[in-house]
C-alpha cells in the first residue's frame, strides 16, 4: 500500500485555487478594514426604483471582490468534501478519505439545516438563529461535533480503527501511513498518523468527541440547577441569606481553578470519599429545583400536584441514587439491581460542576436583583402569590435570554476545563481518548512529532469556537426583539 498524500490528485487543481483564494480574501479584507477606518461617514443613495446604489470607489470594489472570493473559498471547501465521493479509494488523499468517513455527519447536518431553515418562522428563538450568519456557522460547528459524537458513540461509525489498539511499526508515523497487512480496521491507512503508542490519531480524535459532548453539556446543566436554586432566593430575599451565599460563592471563585483541581481530583482524595459526598450534595439540587418548581405551581390543586410529582420525583430520585451510588466508593448502599449505572469519571464531573456553579449563582443573583423591582413582580406580590412561585414562574422566565446565552458560553468553558484536567492528567484514565489527555500526550514529543497533538487541539478549538459563535448569534437575535 502506498502512503496517502494530503489531497491526492484532487489537490493538483483545487489546492492552487483554494490557496490563492484564501490569500486574496485575507488581503482584501485587511485593506478594506483599514480603508473604511479612514473614510468619512457612509451615505447611502437610493436609485429611482428604490434599490440602493452600489458604493463606488475602491472600498465598494473590494466589497464586491470579497463576496466573490468568499464564494470561491466556500466552493473549494465543498469540492474538497463532495468530489472524493466520486473518486476511488485513496485518490483524493487524506482530506478526501476523511470527508468520506464523515458522510453520516454531513447527511445529518444537511437534513437538520434544511428542516430548520424551512420551518424557521415557527421555531421561536431557535428559528431566529438561522437569520444570523455567525449563529449558523456556530451552530453548524457545534452540531458537527454533536453528530460525530453521536454516530461514534451509538453506532461506532466514522472512526477507522479501534482507538485503543496499538499496531506495531506505526509509532509516531506521519499522516497517511499504510497499516501492515492483516490489521483490523476499516481503512488500510492511518489517516492522521500514529501517536507515540502507535494508535490511530484520527480515531482517537473522533472517540474524544463522545467524551466531551457527553459530559460538558450535562455538567453545565447541573451547574445551572445549583446556581439557579441558590441564586434566585439570594437575589430575591437579599439581606443576610444573600451575604452568606455570596461570600461562599466568592470563596470558591477566589481559588485558582487549577489548584482546586489538583486538590480535588487526585486518587488520594477519591479514597477519602470527598467527591462522593460532594456529588451527593450537588446533585441533590436538581431534585429540590423540580420539587419547588412543581409544588409552587400546583399546590392549590393537591390531587394534580401529587399525580405529577410522584413520577417526576420518582424517576429523578432513582437517577440521583444511581449517580451517587458507586461501587468501590464510600457511598455504596443500593442493591446492584437498583443501581442503574456508574459514572466512571464522577470526580471530574463533580469538580467541573463545583467550579461552574458559583459563577452561575452570581449571574442569576444579579438578574434577580434587577428583575425583582419590576412592576409584574409587585403585581404578583399584591395578588398574594408565593415567593417561590414569583421566583420560578415570574422572574426566571424573564431572565431566560441572558441565561441561554451564558449557557452556550459556559458549555464552551466547561469543555476548556475538561481539556485542562486532561492536560494535567488529572482524574482521567491514561488511555482515555479525550482531547485534553491526547494533547497532553502529544505535547511531550511535540518538538519532534507535531502531528499527534494538533488534531485534538484543533477539534477542541473548533467546538469552543462554535459554541462562542452560537452564543453571539443568540445574543444578537434575542436583543433584536
Amino acid at each position: 500500500m502506498e502512503p496517502l498524500t494530503w489531497t491526492g490528485s484532487l489537490g493538483t487543481i483545487l489546492n492552487p485555487i483554494f490557496g490563492i483564494g484564501v490569500i486574496l480574501f485575507l488581503v482584501s479584507v485587511v485593506t478594506q478594514s483599514v480603508l473604511t477606518f479612514f473614510e468619512g461617514p457612509v451615505t447611502l443613495q437610493a436609485n429611482p426604483d428604490g434599490t440602493l446604489q452600489s458604493r463606488g470607489g475602491l472600498i465598494g470594489m473590494l466589497g464586491t471582490a470579497n463576496k466573490y472570493l468568499m464564494l470561491v473559498i466556500v466552493g473549494a471547501v465543498l469540492a474538497y468534501i463532495i468530489i472524493p465521493f466520486f473518486m476511488g479509494y485513496g485518490q483524493a488523499g487524506i482530506v478526501g478519505e476523511m470527508a468520506k468517513r464523515f458522510l453520516p455527519v454531513w447527511v445529518a447536518l444537511v437534513a437538520l439545516f434544511a428542516i430548520s431553515i424551512h420551518y424557521k418562522r415557527r421555531l421561536g428563538l431557535y428559528g431566529k438563529l438561522f437569520d444570523s450568519t455567525v449563529g449558523m456557522i456556530g451552530f453548524g460547528l457545534v452540531m458537527f461535533w454533536v453528530f460525530t459524537a453521536f454516530f461514534f458513540g451509538v453506532f461506532d461509525w466514522i472512526a477507522t480503527h479501534d482507538y485503543l489498539s496499538q499496531v506495531s511499526g506505526l509509532k509516531n508515523k506521519v499522516p497517511g501511513v499504510p497499516v501492515p497487512e492483516g490489521t483490523t480496521g476499516v481503512l488500510p491507512h492511518y489517516l492522521l498518523g500514529g501517536d507515540n503508542l502507535a494508535r490511530d490519531v484520527f480515531s482517537r480524535m473522533v472517540a474524544g468527541s463522545t467524551f466531551v459532548i457527553a459530559i460538558a453539556p450535562l455538567a453545565t446543566v447541573f451547574a445551572f440547577m445549583v446556581g439557579i436554586t441558590l441564586g434566585l432566593p439570594a437575589g430575591y430575599y437579599a439581606g443576610r441569606l444573600d451575604t452568606i451565599l455570596s461570600f461562599l460563592a466568592n470563596l470558591i471563585l477566589a481559588f485558582p481553578v487549577i489548584l482546586l483541581f489538583y486538590l480535588l481530583v487526585t486518587p488520594e482524595i477519591v479514597l477519602t470519599g470527598i467527591p462522593s459526598y460532594m456529588a451527593a450534595f450537588l446533585f441533590f439540587f436538581p431534585l429540590i429545583f423540580f420539587f419547588v418548581l412543581l409544588n409552587s405551581r400546583y399546590y392549590t390543586q393537591p390531587a394534580k400536584r401529587t399525580a405529577i410529582m410522584i413520577p417526576v420525583l420518582g424517576i429523578l430520585g432513582w437517577l440521583y441514587l444511581s449517580v451517587i451510588n458507586q461501587r468501590g466508593t464510600v457511598i455504596n448502599f443500593l442493591p446492584p439491581w437498583l443501581d442503574g449505572f456508574d459514572i466512571t469519571v464522577l470526580v471530574v464531573f463533580v469538580s467541573v460542576v463545583f467550579v461552574n456553579a458559583p459563577t452561575v449563582f452570581r449571574i442569576v443573583r444579579g438578574l434577580t436583583l434587577d428583575l425583582r423591582t419590576r412592576d409584574y413582580v409587585a403585581a404578583a406580590q399584591t395578588r398574594g402569590e408565593g415567593a417561590w412561585y414569583i421566583m420560578l414562574w415570574e422572574i426566571l422566565p424573564n431572565a431566560r435570554g441572558p441565561l441561554i446565552v451564558d449557557f452556550c458560553l459556559r458549555i464552551g468553558y466547561t469543555t476548556i476545563l475538561l481539556g485542562t484536567l486532561g492536560f494535567f492528567g488529572l482524574g482521567l484514565p491514561p488511555e482515555s481518548p479525550d482531547w485534553g489527555s491526547t494533547i497532553n500526550e502529544g505535547r511531550k514529543l511535540l518538538l519532534v512529532f507535531a502531528h499527534p497533538a494538533l488534531p485534538p487541539a484543533i477539534a477542541l478549538m473548533s467546538l469552543v469556537l462554535g459554541l462562542n459563535l452560537l452564543a453571539d448569534g443568540l445574543r444578537e437575535e434575542s436583543l433584536r426583539d
Binding site: V30, Q32, P256, L264, E268, R443, L446, L447, N468, L469
Partner: protein
C-alpha cells in the same frame, strides 16, 4: 471610603483564612499524608511505620492545632520521637537551641519548609514569583494596549467592516485556550514541520536571560487568550459611549471624527475595561500555570504544579496564600479604581 476599604479588607482576611484552612484540610487528609510519608521516607513502609513517621513529625496532631501552628497562633510542637530524636516545628539546625522561638507560623514570617525543594518556602517562592512577574509584565505590555486598540477600533463604528473583522478575531482568540494555542504555536514556529522554525519551544533558558527567541511564544500564548475578552468589553463600552448625547452634540458642532474619538469618547470608554483588566489578572493565573508547564518555565505556576503533584503541604499553602491575595487585591483595586475613575459613583 475609608470604612469601605476597611470592610473589604476584613472580608479579604476572612476569605484568606477560610481558603487556607480548606487547602490545609485537603492536604492533611489521611491518604495524602500517607503518600507524603512514602515519598519522603521509604516507599515500602508498613502502615505502622507510616504512622510513627507521621507522629514523629507532628502530622498526627488534631487539625485545628496544626493549622494554628502553621498560622503562628499556637506554639509549635516539640515531639520526642519514638526513635529518640527531638523534632520541633520551630527547631532550625542553623540556629542555636536556646534561641528557638515558641511560635513560628506565617504571622511570624516563617512560611515553613518545602519537602520537595528541600529549602524554605520563603526562599523558593520569591525567585519563582520574580520569574512569573517577568512573564506577566511582558504579557501585560502586549495584551493591554493590543486589546484596547482592537476594542476601540471595533467599537468606534459599530457594524462596520472593521468592527466585524476585529470582533470575529476576538471571538476566535477567546475560544482558544492556552494549551491549544501553545501547542499550535510550538508546532508551527518551533518545529521544522512547517518550515518556520523561528522560536524556541522551551522557555527554561528565559529564566536567566529572556530573549525574543525564547520568550515570545509563552507571552503570546497567554496574551492572546485574555486579549479577546478585554477587546470585546472595550468594544461594547466604546460602542455605548459613541451613541451618547454628548458625542452627537460634538458631531453636530462639526468636530472632526478623530478628534471626537480621541478627546470625547476614549476616556469615558476606558472606565469599564479597567475593571475587566484588573479582574482578568487572577484569570491569567490559570494561563500562567498552563503555559509555564507547557514551556517548562520555572515560575509560580510551575511551582504550583510541582507542589501539588507531590503533596508538598507548606509550599502548596504558601502558593495558595499568594494566589488568594492576588485575587482579592485585584478585586479591591478594581472596586476602588472604578470609584475614582467614574465620578458618578460615590461610596458613602
Amino acid at each position: 471610603m475609608g470604612l469601605f476599604i476597611l470592610r473589604r479588607f476584613g472580608v479579604m482576611i476572612l476569605t484568606a483564612l477560610c481558603l487556607t484552612f480548606i487547602v490545609f484540610w485537603l492536604t492533611n487528609l489521611a491518604p495524602n499524608l500517607e503518600k507524603l510519608a512514602k515519598t519522603q521516607g521509604n516507599a515500602r513502609m508498613s502502615d505502622e511505620a507510616v504512622q510513627t513517621w507521621l507522629g514523629n513529625r507532628g502530622y498526627l496532631q488534631p487539625l485545628p492545632i496544626k493549622y494554628g501552628q502553621w498560622l503562628g497562633v499556637v506554639p509549635g510542637y516539640v515531639i520526642e520521637g519514638t526513635d529518640g530524636e527531638v523534632r520541633g516545628r520551630c527547631i532550625d539546625p542553623r540556629r542555636p537551641d536556646d534561641e528557638t522561638p515558641r511560635f513560628c507560623g506565617i504571622l511570624q514570617g516563617d512560611w515553613g519548609f518545602s519537602t520537595v525543594a528541600k529549602e524554605d518556602v520563603s526562599e523558593v517562592l520569591p525567585t519563582r514569583l520574580a520569574n512569573t512577574g517577568k512573564l506577566m509584565f511582558w504579557v501585560m505590555v502586549v495584551m493591554v494596549p493590543g486589546a484596547l486598540i482592537v476594542g476601540v477600533l471595533a467599537g468606534m463604528r459599530e457594524g462596520s467592516r472593521t468592527d466585524r473583522t476585529l470582533s470575529t478575531a476576538s471571538i476566535v482568540s477567546t475560544a482558544t485556550p492556552e494549551y491549544v494555542s501553545g501547542v499550535v504555536f510550538i508546532a508551527l514556529f518551533a518545529t521544522s514541520a512547517f518550515g518556520m522554525q523561528w522560536f524556541k519551544g522551551s522557555a527554561s533558558s528565559a529564566v536567566q536571560d529572556a530573549t525574543f527567541e525564547n520568550f515570545f511564544l509563552p507571552v503570546m500564548t497567554i496574551a492572546l487568550y485574555g486579549m479577546g475578552y478585554i477587546a470585546r468589553m472595550t468594544r461594547a463600552s466604546m460602542a455605548e459611549v459613541m451613541t451618547a448625547q454628548y458625542i452627537r452634540t460634538a458631531r453636530l458642532k462639526g468636530v472632526s471624527f478623530p478628534k471626537i474619538v480621541l478627546k470625547h469618547a476614549l476616556r469615558n470608554a476606558l472606565i469599564a475595561p479597567f475593571t475587566v483588566i484588573m479582574l482578568q489578572i487572577p484569570w491569567l493565573l490559570n494561563g500562567v500555570v498552563i503555559v509555564e508547564t507547557l514551556f517548562t518555565y520555572q515560575g509560580f505556576g510551575w511551582e504550583l504544579v510541582r507542589a501539588a503533584s507531590n503533596n508538598d503541604i507548606e509550599m502548596l499553602l504558601g502558593v495558595s496564600v499568594i494566589s488568594v491575595f492576588v485575587v482579592l487585591l485585584t478585586q479591591l483595586i478594581s472596586d476602588i479604581g472604578y470609584v475614582f475613575l467614574n465620578p458618578r459613583i460615590r461610596i458613602s
